[in-house]
């Protein structure tokens, strides 16, 4: 049974007490999710690294996050002498408050009935809600920068500057990846973007936008492999080096909730939001998109992204800072601009000249195929071949350059006599 009320109307008629309940529920959802995420991250990374992970506090170690939180709260709260005290206290507050705000416009589900009142499962929605998320995250950056500056210490300052430069750069790529979605959905309101994906997810038709967004969302949240602001090897702890106790906990909380925010935005803009995944919706199970079921789909999609965050952290080493910035400015942003130009052209042509979109896609595909063939032929004609290392034929020298080295691909390893060291004098000298 689908309730016949548009999201805007349902939100406009929502009484204040229901909005208050929604706000509290969103807050609770995020805090509990953070606790679960801390546990999940440690367990999953542990599994990826052949360890067990936390398993002492509560069943399966589930209460580990809570225990850590209590421990953090009971730690001594240090404010360095050189710190700018007011801003030092303000910075974590800015970080931790702004990160919650973005979730106000994320739709968890369609219009449902709560206590006899019809309302949409999102706190609010307006014509530019996606831009609002961008605005809130850009205010959140102040927390990082001010924390770095107010600590009155070199490493935090460098970390703060790094993180702000990183977040601002990747926010541009992120904003550009939204443009194609706006063009296709014809709106910047989250609920309308979700409803315009009822047939096909934007992750499929706008795949380049989706990929750019996924990369930039990892950069935006300062997570591995882009966790340069707190690169321990270079900056001790980055912007939060001088923070301890609950102030540090606030930064920690903000980082995790920011992850949930970007993941929720990715779900909403590209993965159809709360709509049931493909085989379920409509054909197999007519009721999959009604009532409270969509909340389940939404949370499931959210956690796919959260798992991806953990997976990346367990898999990839940290990038070098200059490579990372180069990637953002010289690869992601030009690619997004090119893709927007293509999308806008295709849309304009199919709207104005009444050419079928299928024709455009077919001819575009043909052009790409021709380009590919030409480039392959060109490679043959110009006679360029894969460069082989010139010393491939030489016999393998296990001490080339004065240091023990492994054989190059194609070289034959020769067994070398190992001379027994004085510590294991009993072992025999091995022969080839």
């Amino acid at each position: 049974m689908r309730l016949e009320l548009s999201v805007t109307d349902a939100l406009a008629e929502t009484p204040w007490w229901l909005s208050a309940i929604k706000a509290v529920v969103i807050f609770g959802f995020l805090v509990v999710s953070t606790l679960v995420m801390i546990w999940a991250e440690r367990r999953v990374v542990a599994r990826m690294q052949q360890r067990v992970g936390p398993n002492r506090v509560g069943p399966f170690g589930l209460l580990q996050g809570l225990a850590d939180g209590i421990k953090l709260a009971l730690k001594e709260d240090i404010i360095p002498t050189a710190a700018d005290k007011a801003i030092f206290i303000l910075a974590p507050i800015i970080s931790a408050t702004t990160c919650f705000l973005a979730f106000a416009v994320i739709p968890f589900g369609p219009v449902v009935s709560v206590f006899g009142q019809e309302t949409a499962l999102q706190l609010t929605d307006f014509s530019v809600s996606v831009l609002y998320v961008l605005a809130v995250t850009s205010v959140g950056v102040y927390g990082l920068v001010l924390a770095g500056w107010s600590s009155g210490s070199t490493y935090p300052l460098l970390g703060g500057l790094r993180s702000s430069a990183q977040v601002i750069s990747y926010e541009i790529a992120m904003g550009l990846s939204f443009v194609a979605v706006f063009l296709y959905s014809g709106s910047m309101s989250t609920s309308e973007i979700v409803s315009s994906q009822d047939r096909l997810w934007f992750a499929i038709i706008l795949l380049p936008s989706f990929l750019i967004y996924v990369v930039s969302m990892v950069g935006e949240t300062n997570r591995a492999p882009f966790d340069l602001p707190e690169a321990e090897g270079e900056l001790v702890g980055g912007f939060h080096t001088e923070y301890s106790s609950l102030k540090f906990a606030l930064f920690f909380l903000a980082e995790y909730i920011n992850m949930f925010t970007v993941a929720a935005l990715a779900t909403t803009l590209f993965l159809g939001g709360w709509q049931a995944p493909w085989p379920l919706g409509g054909a197999i199970w007519a009721g999959a998109n009604d009532g409270w079921w969509p909340v389940l789909w939404f949370v499931a999609k959210l956690w796919i992204f959260m798992f991806m965050f953990i997976w990346l952290r367990g898999t990839l080493p940290r990038m070098r800072y200059d490579q990372f910035m180069k990637f953002g400015w010289k690869v992601l942003i030009p690619l997004s601009l090119l893709w927007i130009a293509i999308v806008a052209t295709v849309r304009a042509v199919s709207n104005e000249a009444s050419i079928d979109r299928q024709d455009i896609l077919i001819w575009g595909g043909v052009a790409l195929a021709v380009l590919l063939v030409v480039s392959i032929v060109w490679d043959y004609v110009s006679g360029r071949e894969l460069e082989q290392p010139d010393d491939i034929d030489k016999p393998f020298d296990p001490f080339g350059g004065g240091h023990p080295v492994p054989p190059l691909p194609g070289q034959q390893a020769v067994a070398v006599a190992v001379v027994a060291s004085p510590s294991n004098a009993d072992s025999e000298v091995l022969d080839a």
């Binding site: 700018d84 801003i87 307006f126 014509s127 530019v128 831009l131 609002y132 961008l134 605005a135 809130v136 850009s138 205010v139 950056v141 102040y142 920068v145 001010l146 770095g148 500056w149 300052l157 703060g160 500057l161 702000s164 430069a165 601002i168 926010e171 910047m188 070098r320 350059g401 004065g402 240091h403």
Partner: protein, 261 residues
Amino acid sequence: MIELLAATPQTSTGEAVAFWCLAPIAVGAAVMILLSRKAVHSALWMATTMIVLAVLFIMQGGIFLGVVQVVVYTGAVMMLFLFVLMLVGVDASDSFVETLRAQRVAGILLGAGFGVLLMAAVSRATFPEAVGVGAANDAAGGHVEAIAEAIFTRYVFTFEVVSIVLITAAVGAMALTHKERLTPRRPQPEQSVDRIRSAHPTPHPSPGVYAQHNAVDTPALLPDGTASEASVPDELRRQGTVRYTELEAANRRADEDGERE
């Protein structure tokens, strides 16, 4: 803003309450920009004013304007300001000595004069009958659509001129700060090969940790008690601020005396 509110007779109670709560914050923060002693504090008060103004815009129905104000001004422009302030290191050591005589008095007078001028101009201006944002939005079929239509039809020339000015400024900034490399860039593989072939492929020894000092300027001690030069940064050695142990310092003085004689 006051003029606008006065012109529309039906200001709702909620709007009035929000206005009288937010307006003092905006004005107070604006005054604090001038009164703050640290440049970073001024920048923060500026950001506060901008956010409060954005909230006022949103309250008046200009949602797009309010949100873009936060994204562009608070998020990008002020952030760049902060960036520069932090990089050039303007902090507690700001000087408050007037370099130009009577600059402060002249500044206050000019500011007050400008304020009077502005108020006179705004209070004497005649506004057309306000139709409200709702009517303008309905005419174009939506809030964002209305703004898009205004920018890309009626004001398209102004819009393009503004973007040309911005691009020129960006290119100019890049041209001014561009620096030619004097030496060719050495890629990481080359550096690592050089390092392995150098006499010292492992990391340098870390600086010393002693009862009195624990910092990068304290060199580690070799087994014979002399300081290891490799354990302190080159820059500190050049500045001559390396903190040697007393014995080592005495030895060094003796060496220098010996060289001089």
